[in-house]
């Protein structure tokens, strides 16, 4: 609760709303003891006095009554009626919702059908019908406004109750022989109460506005008694000659509703944990680059990642997801990058084309060079022209990575058309070719499919076809086979391998599966906690892993026909990368770790092409 209030008042707008609303509420409470004139005493000689007249701070209305006094009494009445309506609607609505949700079955069905019917009305029609039946009057307006808001509470509270009613502690209470009434009052009600209060806080503004509206129409409070709505309604006739009589109550309604809205928004935001992490931020078109230090010189590789540092800045914390990683590929070469989830391999891959979500992602150092050109230094437009055209991505889980509402044919055609000016028919033809190239049967009819109409393997082929659309030089495949079953996985790998041999493209293959690496990759780099801990030719690394982590990782892979062998899971979890310990990040999980492993900087050393970042490697490299 304290944390909630702290969050709430850190939000300046919400705090402002709370202050304004608090001030108005205090004024409304104090009205009877304030030295105000009688709000109903008329003085026809003093009609329509302007604000700041002698004795009438806000002037007078069409009957010469003091506006300040009428405003404050009216505010008091409006607030009282609005809040009363909210309390009545919340009580009855919640009771209905709890009964429907708790008993379920036919009771639930019947009640919710009725609620649906009520919700089928535009709300004011229902309110008007009720006022028509009961006759105009403030009490009847209150009943009408409360009644039209009952369905809202009933529906919300029912939802919460349904999820509660299935929980163990309710079953336990039933088994303990408690009656329904007692369970509802002692077990359910305390749990739904906070939600009722929140729902009330977000709707009370509406209800104040709605009752004011009915009064404005002449269906609510009747003269001489006046709430804000009827003050405004009465003032309307003289709006042109004496606008202040309209503006005074109108501005007050506005202030009340605005402050309630601000406060309600603040409450909602403080309760929504997603806002705290800044996760609701929109990722920019290109990752933010804020490099410190010198940019490494160019090499003659096709694509080279040099001392790349990618971080996530969340509040004051800095997560070093990629920490001085260097990788490179030549044409026709396949490089595997392997590691557990959270090791930074995907972030490394996304950094290449500036696709790391930013905020919170920041590239803080290093370089990414494509044919020598530093991609971290080019403009967005230039980078965009290379995305998909020179370097293409294949992502994991194509159900989430393909647009769910576009046909796959259109998505393929778009990939071509955003780099080449070709006609729709030409693009379509090429899309068909691509689908055939990735061996999708009935390619012609598949073009018209939506992603959800295809199987996982088919979608992954579409993902590959899309990456191939512009004949790129490099493909970065980020766990493209993880979500697939083994036979489909093998087909996809064979397909990628063919493409590499036929077209001479370079592949960076991100995975956590050594089996896949062995099948496809020429070289492999092992990542742990944002760093490369070992790299070298695939066979050499697999046959004789040098880093204890690599060795443990390979030991995790079950071998077919390998007889009985202990499958050793690695104890512990990878470290969180915002507070990395000194020395080797793997040391806390390593059986061979000694004291000096947790001191200073340990370099990535060895004779090329093999390198290892370990003081006591398993094999000399």
């Amino acid at each position: 609760m304290r944390q909630f209030l702290k969050l709430l008042f850190r939000n300046q707008l919400a705090a402002f709303g709370a202050v304004v609303l608090g001030f108005i509420l205090v004024l409304a409470l104090l009205v009877p003891v304030l030295p105000l004139q009688d709000p109903d005493v008329t003085a026809t000689g003093d009609r329509f006095l302007r604000p700041f007249s002698e004795g009438h701070l806000l002037g007078t209305d069409h009957l010469g009554r003091d506006l300040l006094s009428r405003l404050l009494w009216g505010t008091r009445l409006s607030l009282a009626v609005g809040i009363a309506a909210a309390v009545i609607a919340a009580t009855i609505g919640s009771a209905i919702g709890i009964i429907a949700g708790y008993f379920g079955g036919r009771t639930d069905n019947l009640i919710m059908r009725g609620v649906d019917m009520l919700m089928a009305f535009p709300y004011i029609l229902l309110a008007l019908a009720i006022v028509a039946a009961l006759g105009p009057g403030l009490m009847n307006a209150l009943i009408a406004v409360a009644a039209v808001n009952i369905p809202f509470f009933a529906r919300n509270i029912r939802g919460v109750t349904v999820s509660l009613a299935g929980r163990e502690f309710i079953d336990a209470a039933r088994l303990a022989g408690m009656g329904h009434v007692r369970i509802i009052l002692t077990e359910i009600l305390p749990n739904v109460l906070p939600i009722i209060v929140i729902a009330m806080s977000t709707t009370v503004g509406w209800m104040i506005l709605e009752t004011a509206g009915l009064s404005f129409l002449g269906l609510g409070s009747q003269p001489p008694q006046a709430d804000l709505g009827s003050m405004l309604g009465e003032a309307r006739d003289a709006m042109i000659t004496a606008p202040h009589t309209s503006i005074v109550p109108g501005v007050m309604i506005f202030l009340i509703v605005m402050s309630v809205n601000l406060l309600g928004d603040g409450v909602r935001d403080a309760l929504d944990p997603r806002l705290k992490s800044g996760a609701l931020s929109r990722p920019q078109a290109k990752t933010l680059v804020e490099r410190k230090g010198a940019v490494p010189p160019a090499t003659d590789d096709l694509l080279s990642i040099q001392d790349l540092e990618t971080q996530f800045h969340v509040g004051k914390r800095v997560y070093r997801a990629v920490n001085k990683v260097s990788l490179s590929v030549k044409p026709g070469e396949c490089l595997g990058v392997i590691g557990e989830s959270g090791s930074g391999k995907s972030v490394t891959a996304l950094s290449v084309m500036g696709l790391v979500a930013s905020p919170p992602g920041v590239i803080a150092g290093g370089a990414v060079r494509l044919e020598g050109e530093d991609l971290l230094d080019v403009s967005y437009e230039k980078l965009r022209q290379k995305r998909g055209e020179k370097v293409a991505y294949i992502f994991q889980d194509p159900l989430a990575t393909l647009h769910p509402l576009y046909r796959v044919g259109d998505q393929l055609a778009e990939a071509i058309q955003c780099h080449h000016k070709v006609s729709d028919a030409k693009a379509r033809e090429r899309a068909l070719e691509l689908l055939k190239a990735v061996r999708i049967p009935n390619a012609e009819s598949r073009l018209k499919n939506y992603p959800h109409e295809m199987s996982g393997g088919m979608r992954q082929r579409v993902g590959i076809a899309m990456a191939m659309a512009n004949d790129p030089d490099v493909i970065i495949a980020d766990e493209p086979t993880t979500a697939l079953d083994v036979t489909v996985q093998a087909q996809i790998l064979a397909l990628l391998d063919d493409l590499r041999r036929e077209r001479g493209l370079a592949i960076i293959f991100i995975t956590h599966d050594f089996g896949v690496v062995a099948q496809l990759c020429d070289r492999v780099a092992v990542m742990y906690a944002g760093r490369i801990v070992e790299q070298g030719p695939t066979n050499a690394v697999l046959d004789a892993p040098a880093h204890p982590y690599t060795k443990r990782l390979i030991a995790c892979v079950p071998e077919l026909g390998g007889g009985r062998r202990e499958l050793a899971a690695i104890p512990g979890l990878p470290p969180v990368v915002d507070k990395l310990p000194e020395g080797c990040a793997f040391a806390p999980r390593c059986q061979k770790a000694r004291e000096e492993c947790q001191k200073g900087e340990i370099g990535l050393e060895g004779a090329a092409p093999r390198k290892v970042r370990c003081l006591y490697p398993e094999e000399a490299v």
Binding site: M117, A120, P122, L217, A357, Q385, G388, A400, E414, H419
Partner: protein, 315 residues
């Protein structure tokens, strides 16, 4: 698609019946004697009896309901005693005016709201975002009837740009430009709150979508950022925006009651308020049922639009 529309129409029948039951119950539960309510306390017994017979109040409630329902289905909504003409004629005449006002407002709030939301999301935390967020906050907090009055003061009385009220000029009006001149202020005043609500929702829906994986895919393909926002992201966000448009249509229809009063617009809302003040029960009953039924049908149209937009919905 045709069978889906038919299915939705059939499923609307119980809702429509439910609406008539609810309206009938509310009207049937009038405390006291409706005849005296209509005639006042000086009514003669003969008059009371005549009114009771006219309203069918001498029969049991269930019978009365079915007579009323049957009459409505054959187009007989009864006769308004305050206007002394058939209820349905009056409703149809007034409904056109409301449709022009509420329809224009609905188009305005949908277009402006989505536009503001998209711009706001695309420039999150930038100047445009802050300006829009602030305007939206004002827009959703200002009562439409007060906004309407202030607009009249400013644009009609002080600046004299637009007519004060009404639907057509009394002399020499009646053509389209005249209608538009009269329509601008009430349509904008009516659209204000809904525009704010739609803008807020569109903004958060866009922000939600922009974090999705398929947006990253679009960017990885090299799609231009403008198209990423206006095409890929907006298309996906529309799936959650459209149902809110349906809900807001109800609010626009509701708000029309206030705006019609403020701007003396000859619509159905003004008719209802006058009917209530005159205690013209049949006119209220008929008007409420008619508008609610139109709203149900409109929501079916929204569902159909939704299913056309989202192929994942089984039709």
């Amino acid at each position: 698609m045709g069978s889906y529309i038919l299915k939705r129409l059939i499923s609307a029948i119980p809702v429509l019946l439910g609406i008539t039951v609810i309206v009938f119950l509310i009207m049937a539960l009038i405390p006291g004697d409706p005849a005296t309510a209509i005639l006042g306390s000086y009514a003669t017994p003969e008059n009371v009896e005549k009114i009771n017979r006219d309203l069918g109040l001498d029969k049991p409630a269930v019978v009365r309901y079915f007579i009323w329902l049957g009459n409505m289905l054959t187009g007989d909504f009864g006769r308004s005693f305050s206007l002394n003409r058939p209820v349905l004629d009056e409703i149809l005449e007034r409904f056109g005016a409301t449709l022009i006002l509420a329809g224009t407002s609905f188009v305005l709030c949908s277009f402006l709201g989505i536009l503001a939301g998209v711009v706001s999301a695309a420039r999150q935390y930038g100047f445009a975002d802050k300006a829009i967020t602030f305007t939206v906050l004002i827009g959703i907090s200002i009562p439409s009837f007060f906004l309407g009055m202030m607009m009249i003061l400013l644009f009609a009385v002080n600046l004299k740009w637009l007519p004060v009220s009404g639907m057509y000029a009394i002399y020499g009006g009646g053509d389209l430009p005249d209608l538009l001149k009269h329509l601008i202020m009430p349509a904008l005043a009516l659209a204000a709150v809904a525009t704010g609500v739609i803008a807020r929702l569109s903004r958060s829906a866009m922000l939600e979508v922009l974090r999705q994986d398929f947006i990253r895919t679009a960017r990885a393909k090299g799609v231009k950022e403008r198209r990423v926002i206006r095409g890929h992201a907006l298309r996906a966000a529309m799936v959650s925006i459209i149902p809110v448009l349906g809900i807001q249509a109800g609010f626009v229809l509701s708000g029309a009651v206030y705006i019609e009063i403020v701007f003396q617009w000859p619509g159905i809302g003004r008719m209802l308020v006058n009917a209530i003040l005159q205690r013209d029960i049949l006119l209220v009953q008929g008007g409420v049922v008619f508008v609610a039924a139109c709203y149900v049908l409109f929501n079916i149209a929204v569902d159909v639009a939704q299913s056309m937009l989202d192929p994942r919905i089984k039709t």
